[in-house]
Amino acid sequence: MTHSAYLVETVRRDPAHDPAGRALAGELRAAGIAVGAVRLAHVFEVGPTTAAAAEQLGRELFANPVLDRMTVSPASEPLRLAAGERAVTVLRREGVMDPVALSTLQAAEALGVHLERVRAGRRVYVEAEPEVARAACDWVVRWTSNPVVDRALGPEDPWPAAPRPAPALGQLARAVPLAGLDDAALTQLSREACLALDAVEMRAIQAHYAALGRAPTDVELETIAQTWSEHCKHKTLTGPITHEEFDADGAPTARRDYQNLLKQTVFAATQELDLPRCLSVFVDNAGVIRFDDDYGVAIKVETHNHPSAIEPYGGAGTGIGGVIRDILGTGLGARPVLNLDVFCVGDLDAAPESLPKGALHPRTVLRGVVAGVRDYGNRMGIPTACGALVSEPRYAGNPLVFAGTVGLIEHGLVAKQPRDGDWIVAVGGRTGRDGVHGATFSSDALHSASEVESGGAVQIGNPIEEKKLGDVLLEVRDRLSAVTDCGAGGFSSAVGEMAEGLGAEVDLSLAPLKYAGLQPWEVWISEAQERMVLAVGDAHVEAVCAAFAAEDVEAVRLGRFRASGRLVIRWGDETVADLDLDFLHEGLPKQARQARWRAPRAQPFAEPALTPGEALRAILATPTVGSKAPIVRQYDHEVQGSSAIKPFAGVGGGGPSDGVVLAPRLGSRRGIVLGLGLNPGLSDHDPYAMATWAVDEALRNVVAAGADLDSCAILDNFSWGDCRRPEQLGSLVRAAEACRDAALAYRVPFVSGKDSLNNEFELPDGTRAAIPGTLVITALGTIDDVLQAVSMDLKGPGHPLLLVGLSRDELGGGQLAALAGSAGGAVPRVDLERAPGVLRAVQAALATGAVLACHDLSEGGLAVAAAEMGFAGGCGLELDLSQAPREGELGVWGWLFGESPTRFLLEVDPARLDEVRAALASAPHAPVGTTVAEPRLRVRHGADGWLDEPLAELQQAWAGALRLAFPSAQG
């Protein structure tokens, strides 16, 4: 019997069991393509094998016994279609990670069928007139696949043949002569090799090798480029900067010189505070603070912007996968307990022709990134329970994806250090060409051809590999000297960082590969996912490797750490790189950069032509403020059995929580509280105000849920435009200054952070569009007993309401300004003198146990917060603002929608009002009304009625914010 390739196709017998097909039909019709029935089939190529074996695999692995019809045919046979039907088949491109194919190979082996090749795809059958069917298939390819990772086959296209085997490696390492090249030639070389190094940096390398009397090898040059990349080295934030500020008329107002911006702002605050709760800050993959007597809590937030712009699903999935590995690689291994995500995308309703050329539609981006986090985070068994979304047209060409993970680690496992003679052990997934040049790519701006050119920089994750890896790592970690993850730069960064202050010898020919034909430099810098590097002593290495093998994870000894000061890389017997570690880590020339910030001219706020009620509904229905349920409900936010205050609170989960609270140790009620802060709309007015507002918001959120401010830590994640331009860098400097000032004022340390500084999009006409300066602040706190946490939903009628904090007429850059299209108004400013006291007063009020509900005032101000508390609790509010604490004059718009920070609305047990007010005595606060049974939000100012809206309608507006972006097949 001959062996060849077969196709197994499965399709539902009953269309009622094909929700994906029906959903696709609905979307096609909504796009104006009048299709009949649409069916989704799954196609598997298996081979070489026999028809009988293919049939068996189909029956046992691919077809649902109750629901599916299955056909098996030789792959060489053309596709047979019924009359009036057309089909399109979408497959992963060769070399792109395909978890389905990997699973099939393994499962077939277990069934006694050996396969060499599996390819999985989906096939869409469309019933329609020929021209309509063709348009429908084109639409399916355009909107449900991505040419970077997928290929589409029409009905006439033959099934693609297996690629030819890779030729044997010829020359292993190529010398790259630099001698005699001028700046232009050096720059050109850097660009052509995707090194992302500038002329000054290339000259430093040239000089180093001139002194050695030889040319660098390609492996050496790539290693230096990875290590010196903005992504790995953060050279802008850690290099010298001259910063100048000007007023709106251009007159100079300030000038400061920095040797190292990060050390002098964010780090400086942490150092000055010097708090005992900080167990490990800015030295490891994540920051670690104290949780309880046994455990620390590790936290890290990463950006994965450029990969997500090009392939949203893979980019966001590997973003969350990468930050989970950061936590697994913190100390000797922390156990992940919580994930968070923040997405900034363009206008979800944008007309396609209004988008930058080459950019995916913001809706496609959002669906893709949500699916990516869902499929990775859910499979890892980590609750994704905290997040934020911002929709703004300037993110259309360069969306932002922030992903974070929190973990628990025993105090005794926080420290790690590789020792001379330790084995370098690579564990986890195999190495392929995926992600080659990811670190240098993320340091360059995107442009309309990025999709095509940087395909290699795109990665698709395989979460099951990481789950297996993490399970074993947490079992063996007390036998390791050190561990780190392979992130940007792959082995080159992981081994290079671990070897710092020591040295290492590696034989790359030992690394398990996905396919043959990789050059040594590709193996060395590949960013293939799900890999980590361990340092293990002789005494434990056999047992550690055996523990991984016992759960089907590859663990391979690549070499040893050596106290040599050199990084020596071999391929078998041939040395392909021999680098001086001092030069690698310290040789990067420091380049002074110019920073400039000019205050914008003050403009009056242009009031919207709407009633306050209409404005409130419109703001509640924005993606930024509205319900994220269609996203969060796709995430398993209950796994691990730890969740106490959930993403949604109140009757039927009808309102948004401020912070989330979880009890991560089974059997203990001690809790972690997590909150986020960001408001990029304020950046255009003043990045300093934006950054302090973000810190204040993140801390408001955790304090409102019941965290102790003196347990908290914060993280900074900057995503900015091209900081080689003085205006961009100037705005970043102001935000960094604000971070330092805020941390010192609240006495809350920064423990980790990350920056992504080239978020620009090149338009076809050569002009560049930058994102608004975006700072995400993550706040982590603890609570002694999660049963003391407070939720934001009103608990019942007849309860007094207190407004805490000063209101000012601050509408600039807020939600109402965006709605009204107004660039004017005063930007909300945090009063750093008074804000920490207000937060502490609220904390004291919550500690009385007499605060029934607490919600912070945030985007959209008082009206939004009051509406959310009301509809979440199923009861109404009657507010009179005439006695509320204020500074300056406020009108109806400022009162209802102003975004002055450091404010809270509290529902209080009427019998204990005095006790709560006594706790709040040091903070400005006043009674502003009561809760009522009638489900309406009524706001007046003395005799003036300002708002009278039924809560059900407000909730409907809020709940429907993402309905179009996430249509349900269920309707």
Partner: protein, 267 residues
């Protein structure tokens, strides 16, 4: 003596720790083993255990369908041991992915007369939220004394379907739990009521007859999509912040299921 419970994990299991914790809290002695270790054993691999729990997760990635590969392993390698465990009065629990695997292995519904499958959710996507459930197999040792309870679901393939020619009475005979529409809109407030039919999203996957779980004909094997191990503490069900007085510190309603098992096995 404490009943001995095996919590069986495989590559991709992810609810093993909290499932083990729920059994321990109820008074069981729990062993957590990777399926590779169980398959290495000679003879009856489950001889020393009184109960087997297959927890939730995405075993082997679920890339070929939820529980597909673990189900195949159970069917081909462990079925005789599981049947022997049931024959000697032992209990078997499959939660979420564990339920999917038990169905794939033919252990549930556990009668040739009825063929079941867990298909992708009718909504076309992963769903995670709280549900209200009514017990429809009150004689199962797992479910005794429970009438209604609130539990969260988290799955993409939880739509319980049966072969087109399935006898509705045979289905009802093995129905363990069904989804109710919460009348107060507020899953998590203990003791509150619900109505039928549940509809979406109360029946989150669009299951036949609103079913959330099945038992085998002995009642000793229970499989369910909702997660009882995620409602064992007083702060688990989302309504806890709205409870006052004595009810505020009640443990979660899911705990009863584990206590029932331990009490049954103690005899």
């Amino acid at each position: 003596m404490k009943p001995r419970v095996l919590v069986l994990r495989a590559a991709g299991s992810n609810c093993d720790h909290e499932t083990a914790y729920a059994f321990e809290q109820a008074g069981a002695e729990v062993t957590q083993l990777h399926v590779n270790r169980v398959l290495e054993r000679e003879g009856d691999a489950l001889a020393e255990f009184d109960a087997l729990a297959v927890p939730g997760g995405f075993t082997y990635g679920d890339d070929l369908g939820a529980g597909q590969i673990l189900g195949l392993v159970l069917e081909r390698r462990l079925k005789p041991s599981i049947e022997a465990l049931v024959a000697r009065g032992g209990l078997v629990l499959g939660i979420c992915n564990g339920f999917q695997a038990l169905v794939r292995a033919g252990l549930l519904p556990g009668t040739p007369a009825l063929q079941a499958s867990l298909a992708p959710n009718a909504s076309g996507r992963f769903e995670c939220h709280w549900t209200r459930l009514e017990v429809t197999a009150p004689s199962s040792p797992w479910l005794r004394g429970i009438e209604t309870l609130d539990l969260p679901i988290a799955h993409a393939e939880g739509r319980l379907v049966f072969a087109a020619d399935a006898d509705p009475e045979a289905i009802q005979a093995l129905a363990a739990l069904r989804y109710l529409k919460p009348t107060d809109g507020d899953p998590g407030v203990a003791g509150s009521a619900g109505s039928s039919p549940a509809d979406y999203p109360a029946n989150p996957a669009g299951s036949t007859a609103d079913l959330a779980g099945l038992v085998d004909p002995t009642g000793q094997i229970l499989g369910l999509m909702p997660h009882p191990e995620r409602n064992v503490e007083p702060y688990h069900a989302p309504g806890w912040t709205r409870r006052t007085g004595a009810g505020a510190s009640e443990s979660g309603a899911g705990r009863q299921l584990f206590t029932n098992a331990v009490e049954t096995l103690r005899g």
